[in-house]
Symmetry: C2
Subunit: 361 residues, 2 copies
DNA sequence: GCACCCAATGTAAGCGCATACAGTCAGAGT
DNA sequence: ACTCTGACTGTATGCGCTTACATTGGGTGC
């Protein structure tokens, strides 16, 4: 069922009555081979089911023909549906409320599109795409040995590792605000996007206080968004009665902090640094019986699918994930083509998506 | 920024004052090297930022250390949010109803988990995971040349291509009912799952007719599910007044057919072969003012996220996608370890998830 | 003190392919 | 008829690593 008898150039060459160089040429530079020869060789290739070894090709050609994308690792699995998968037969569970989340949120919503964009662009350029998920610097080394260029989602790997890798192959860093490293950098316009949505929220907010859920203090992205909120607050006149929370990027955090704030008085707006926090805020507001958006408007950031499907649909700032993926690959290709070009530091535009949770004025 | 000066074993060996064989041993079989030597070599590896070339290793070792997963290709991109991504700055759009879908449904909901499972398992076994998306037999050849084993989602590649590849390396076919090919096969228990959910639907159905949305006639999966419905109908007494539709797997199809059926009289149950169809049925029922589940119950199949978030939440049969991914890799590893083992043909269990659209009795 | 053995390391031979370089040969030019 | 040119094709080398086999040198047992 799986004999390790893969044919090589030698087999093809012998059978076609040519040298291995000709076989190689037929595959790499077909126009350099006489048509009759080419056809004969291709026929043998077909007949033998010959597939060139990427290893040999990579070694001889000093390039692997693959590009890498390194994303944060998966969370542990803890899924009631999945857990069953070890048994047999059919199991029936009661999940009437649809609460049995499959614990994937972040990954599926955020990275799948990135991956799609990257893969599409890699394919266009004739490269394969190899993805790796962050599980320590070791795993990225493994990836690095297999590719001609590497796109790394920020915060998955230490700065030192990035620098070390960058000395070996083209690297582009994705997202994250930092860009002190001597590598190409690609991010979204967190600050402007956040400012835009925050200004809108402040403009249409209800009568209560403003709550800012600003996210982790050690996240460069969160920091830029925080700055965007400051811009918006400043633009709306000196000091607002804004409450502020620095913390996790989780839905639970959003719910807790919003509930706490509500205990201190009515809220007129919740401005969250990501969609998870905003969804948590929605949870708390609905629990407390506060009408969204009539009494309190809510905004998020990221544009995950769950925000769209929330009730009410969540106003947010959509990141162009697919475009990010595409651009990351393009940046990589540009550097591969021209190693000495100036370090790029691109910002991708974002889109404020106005939905029911904070509708147009 | 990207000097092509990657250090090799020779550099490390020279600097550490050993032979390249010793360097290789330190990395492959550390226990075979004296501790003092090992430490000296590792120090140099660290210092030079040495990363072994996967190509050279693959060529010399006759294995790439990578496994492949081949999934259906991406759909064309047609996304109002994404389309903006070529400009700059911040754009604002009005999507109050949350209808600006990002056109990813299938991919994100279905394959991300598969990918996660596969990757997790590959990582555990010390393999890298390479994913490829179906764009013709050519692209899978490219993948095949890079990996030690290949998991292929059925219906992405022709049977001939699968056979050809299987002659070269271990292959496992995922999903799909067919299994005539001489390769390992892995699927879910479509029939039993469908029978279980259909029996439940028939048991709790409303007073109207039963509509079966059976999916494409050329899909092996759909055929198995169709059989499951037949089983359920038979178990519920000979002939039911069931209407039947064979066709696409899309939401629009579900909506259309359900609307047509409703025009002919009230429905008591809609049993769909996948979640997209079921969601379409929900659309049509809500349009028509039919109460779900009071008047008509609805069931789907797959367990995509959107089913959980639908209103009402959709009763469905969840596939253990992550477990499928894991098992696919395990199957591959088993065959790599023992090429002559018997062809495996495993069925994974499914979970009927009862939600509001067809609640427990 | 000598033959032996084993642990540690070195030597050398490829792995399958790309490619620089060296033919070969038919037709063009003189 | 002879050289020259260019289109094709063959020869030979090496990419960076793994690994079978050879070598070395210190114990061990007698």
């Amino acid at each position: 069922m799986a004999p390790p008898n893969a044919p090589t150039v030698y087999d093809v060459a012998e059978r076609a009555g040519v040298s291995i160089a000709t076989v190689s040429r037929v595959l790499r530079t077909p126009e350099a081979v006489k048509q009759s020869t080419r056809e004969r060789v291709l026929a043998v290739v077909q007949e033998l089911g010959y597939v060139p070894s990427a290893s040999a090709r990579g070694l001889a050609g000093r390039r692997t023909g693959a590009l890498g994308l390194f994303i944060p690792g998966h969370e542990a699995i803890d899924d009631p549906v999945e857990a069953h998968a070890t048994g047999t037969g059919v199991r029936i569970i009661d999940d009437r409320t649809g609460s049995a989340s499959r614990h994937r949120g972040f990954r599926a919503d955020y990275f799948d599109e990135l991956l799609r964009g990257a893969e599409l662009e890699a394919w266009r350029s004739g490269h394969a795409l190899m993805i790796g998920a962050g599980r320590g610097d070791g795993s990225i080394d493994d990836l690095a040995g297999r590719v001609d260029g590497l796109a790394i989602v920020a915060s998955t790997v230490s700065d030192e590792a990035v620098e070390r890798l960058a000395a070996r192959l083209p690297v582009v860093l994705l997202a994250g605000g930092r860009n002190e490293l001597p590598v190409d950098h690609l991010a979204v316009d967190n600050r402007a996007g956040m400012r835009a949505v925050a200004e809108h929220a402040l403009r249409v907010r209800g009568p209560g206080a403003v709550l800012v859920l600003a996210g982790p203090i050690d996240s460069p992205d969160a920091e830029e968004r925080r700055q965007g909120v400051r811009d918006a607050l400043a633009a709306h006149g000196a000091r607002l009665d804004a409450q502020h929370d620095d913390g996790l990027f989780t839905r639970d955090r959003g719910r807790e902090r919003t509930a706490e704030a509500l205990a201190g008085g009515p809220l007129g707006a919740v401005i969250a640094a990501n969609d998870q926090l905003a969804l948590g805020a929605l949870d708390a507001l609905l629990d407390a019986g506060a009408a969204v958006p009539e009494q309190c408007v809510v905004t998020g950031f990221d544009g995950i699918e769950e925000a769209r499907l929330a009730r009410p649909p969540l106003t947010t700032v959509a990141q162009p994930m697919e475009a990010l993926g595409r651009t990351a690959i393009r940046t990589l290709l540009a550097r591969i083509a021209e190693p000495q070009r100036a370090r790029s530091d691109e910002r991708m535009p974002v889109t404020v998506v106005l939905r029911e949770s904070c509708p147009p004025a």
